[in-house]
Every structure is written in C-alpha cells, then in structure tokens.
C-alpha cells in the first residue's frame, strides 16, 4: 500500500493476500483504500476483487475468488431485459428509424472531443497479431 497514487511513492504497508479493505476512490489504475485500523493508502486497482455481499464499498485484496450467490431479488423489482422479452420481441422498425435519426457525423463527434478536452493517444491494440492502425483525427 503506497502513500500516493504513483508507483514511485513511499510504501506505507505491505498487505497480505485476501486482506479486507474499504474502497474509497479510484484514480486511473490506483484505488485509494482504507485498512481495518483506519489507515489510508493507494493500491493497484487490478489487485482488488469486490465482495458480492451487496456492500459495494467493501473489497478483498488480491484475487479473492468465488462469488457467493446470495438470495437476490427475483420478483421484487422491475425485470431487466431478459430472454423472455427477447423471445416475445417482434422487430420495431419505426423505433429503429427514430434511432437512426439520432446518429451524429464525424465533425459533430470531433467537436465533442475538443469541447471535452480529449486528446487522442496513439496506441496499438494489445493483441500483437491483430494490430491495426488507428485513424488520425
């Protein structure tokens, strides 16, 4: 566990695998956590696995596997789109036309990027065998 969200920051503590932590906030690859004795620090977010007890702020450190399938809420809430909805569906072309009317062109998207202060980065795909060039914009 480090003092700051940076690899060259000071080490505050060494946490054992499966240490329970509370997740506070995330900054890129770094997650701020709080230990059981109240100490705050930053860890690699990819080393964390969240617990499935419904308390989404509680996490386990370092690859705790296995999700307890708890009782859930079948029948208590509104159902999300499921297989039954799909089985019953007949194509809705007028809704599709409505959706198509909402499509935006390249220049609109580019001005969205500029307005949002997004600067493109050059990066190859991770699969070396299937590298493809990125379109400059």
């Amino acid at each position: 566990m480090l003092e700051k969200a940076s690899a060259d920051s000071a080490v505050l503590a060494t946490l054992a695998s499966q240490t329970k932590l509370d997740a506070i906030q995330r900054q890129g690859a770094w997650q701020q956590v709080k230990t059981a004795n109240g100490q705050l620090g930053w860890v690699d977010m990819m080393s964390l696995r969240f617990e499935s007890n419904g308390n989404s702020n509680s996490v386990n450190n370092l690859k705790v596997l296995g999700r307890t399938s708890n009782t859930g809420s079948v029948g208590t809430g509104v159902n999300g789109l499921d297989k039954t909805d799909l089985a019953r569906a007949s194509p809705n072309y007028s809704e599709y036309q409505k959706m198509q009317r909402g499509a935006v062109d390249r220049s609109t998207a580019q001005s969205f990027g500029q307005r949002s202060k997004l600067s493109g980065n050059r990066m190859e795909y991770l699969d070396q065998s299937r590298n493809t060039k990125r379109e400059d914009n």
Binding site: M45, N55, F112, E135
Partner: protein
C-alpha cells in the same frame, strides 16, 4: 458421393459473383480425385461465406429492430444525443470509422449493453444510471464497438449448427430478394444470439480492444475494469443483471484476463476520467 453432391449444390447456390463463378469452373476442371473435388468445394464454401459490408449493415438493422422490439428507446432526447456524441467520438479512434455508427439508450432498468453487426450500439438506462463516471461508460461502449470491429456477431452466426442454418442462408435470402424469409431468419438469429451470447473468447478480446479504444480517445482505460469490479459485487440472481451474467464470462475471469493484458502497457497517459453521467445528461438536455 452424397456428401460431395451436397457440397456442390451448396456452392452453386452461393455463387452470385463473377469470381465465384470462375472458381466454380476451376473446380470442375480439377483432377478426377473425389477427395480433391470435395476439398476444393469445401474451400469455395469457406471463401464465399464472407459477408460483405452492405450485407453486414442490413443484417444489423434487423438485429437492432429486434432489440427495439424487446425494449424501446428511452424517451430522453438529451441522453440519446449524449451517447451518440460520445460513442461516435470513440469510433473515430478505430479502423472502421465510417460505418453508420448509431447509439441508443434502451428504456430498461436492467444492466446490459448490446451491439449489432454494422455498428448499432445499445446500452440500457439502468446501466447508464450505475456508471460512476464517463470513463466507465466509455469502457462499456468501447467493448460493444469492439464486437462490431472484430465481427463477433457474424462469427456467432457462422458457428457450426447455429439454429440449423448458417449465416450464408440468411444472406442468400437477402441477395435473392426473398425478404420475408430473410427477415424471419434474421429475427430468429437475433433472438438466439442475444439470448445465448457470443463466444467467450470474443468477450475477452472485446475487453482487450476496448481498453485501447478508451485510451486512444483520451479516457482513463481503467474504466472498463472498474465496471467489472462493480459487477463482481452484483448477484447473477438479480434480474437486472441476470442476462449479462448468463451471456458473459464471470467478471473475475474478465478482470484476470485484462490484468494480464494491460500490465505495464498503460503506465502513463494523457487520460481523463470524464464527468459524471448526471452532469452530462444535464449538459445535453439543453
């Protein structure tokens, strides 16, 4: 012999372009060996199985209309405008920037996202509501965009034994103008593929492509892993998440796989987490 005949008939049925006819002639002139014929016919079928871009886009329309038949669009013009602006910006970072990319928010409390061949992308209203910031939504949209880029839905249709008919039969009906049959088959195919999901390895691939699209677009690439961590805390028994859990590898496995792929590749970059979805919806409602 019967098998050979079947293959030949199949290859006649799908020869609709000049080059395929030429290959067919070539096939007839090949050596007398039956094995050779069968082999060549088989190769021909493999080659002509490619679905071209106009066919891919047409099929995507049927798939999109099917999803919209299950759940309509969320009646919020600002939200629809927002996902189209953001989504289109992401597609500009890819090798297929000129597909007719269109984005939609489905009026659904559940947590899910879908793509169709040819570039229609959907997220549910319930997913939008559970995103902590824009980089998470970027992770989800990029994952769906990746399915389109790598033609994962078409691959699912080409899977051996898919519904008893293959992708070529659907496309043949389209080429021959048998629209009623075409639409009926496309509807069945869409229902099947959205209920069963894609090949698991294609899901992992879409995750790996997605983090790169996010980074190219200027967003924190760890948005997608963060979404997967949110999913870890959810139960597959929760009906708002059940279809997603049934059709995808477990969030744990996806994070493990991304962890390996991303390790030391995203050390420093010029990324932002983005605004909250709430702020964006306010901005786009004006």
């Amino acid at each position: 012999m019967r098998n050979f005949k079947k293959l030949l008939i199949a290859s006649i049925a799908i020869t609709c372009c000049a080059s395929a006819y030429a290959q067919f002639d070539l096939l007839k002139n090949l050596g007398n060996g039956l094995g050779k014929h069968a082999e060549a016919a088989k190769n021909l079928i493999e080659q002509t199985k490619e679905i071209d871009e106009p066919q891919e886009i047409a099929l995507g329309q049927e798939f999109a209309a099917t999803l919209l038949g299950a759940k309509p669009l969320w009646n919020d013009a600002g939200a629809q405008r927002y996902v189209n602006n953001l989504g289109r910006w992401l597609t500009l970072q890819t090798e297929r920037p000129d597909l007719p990319w269109t984005f939609g928010v489905l009026d659904d409390d559940g947590f899910n996202a879908f793509a169709t061949p040819g570039g229609n992308i959907f997220v549910t209203r319930g997913l939008l509501a559970r995103m902590h910031n824009e980089s998470e939504l970027v992770g989800v949209l990029s994952h769906e965009i990746a399915h389109v880029l790598r033609k994962h839905y078409l691959a699912a249709l080409k899977t051996k034994g898919f519904l008893g008919f293959g992708a070529d039969l659907i496309v043949n009906n389209y080429a021959k103008g048998n629209l009623a049959e075409y639409k009926e088959m496309a509807l069945k195919a869409a229902k099947e593929v959205y209920s069963k999901g894609l090949d698991k390895s294609d899901e992992y691939e879409a995750d790996r492509v997605a983090v790169v699209i996010a980074a190219r677009a200027g967003y924190d690439p760890y948005g997608l892993p963060a979404v997967l961590q949110t999913l870890q805390s959810k139960s597959s028994q929760d009906s708002n998440f059940s279809l997603l859990f049934e059709t995808h590898p477990s969030p744990n496995d996806r994070i493990d796989s991304l962890d390996k792929a991303m390790r030391s590749r995203f050390g420093s970059g010029n990324w932002i987490a983005g605004k909250t979805i709430e702020e964006r919806l306010k901005e786009f409602s004006r």
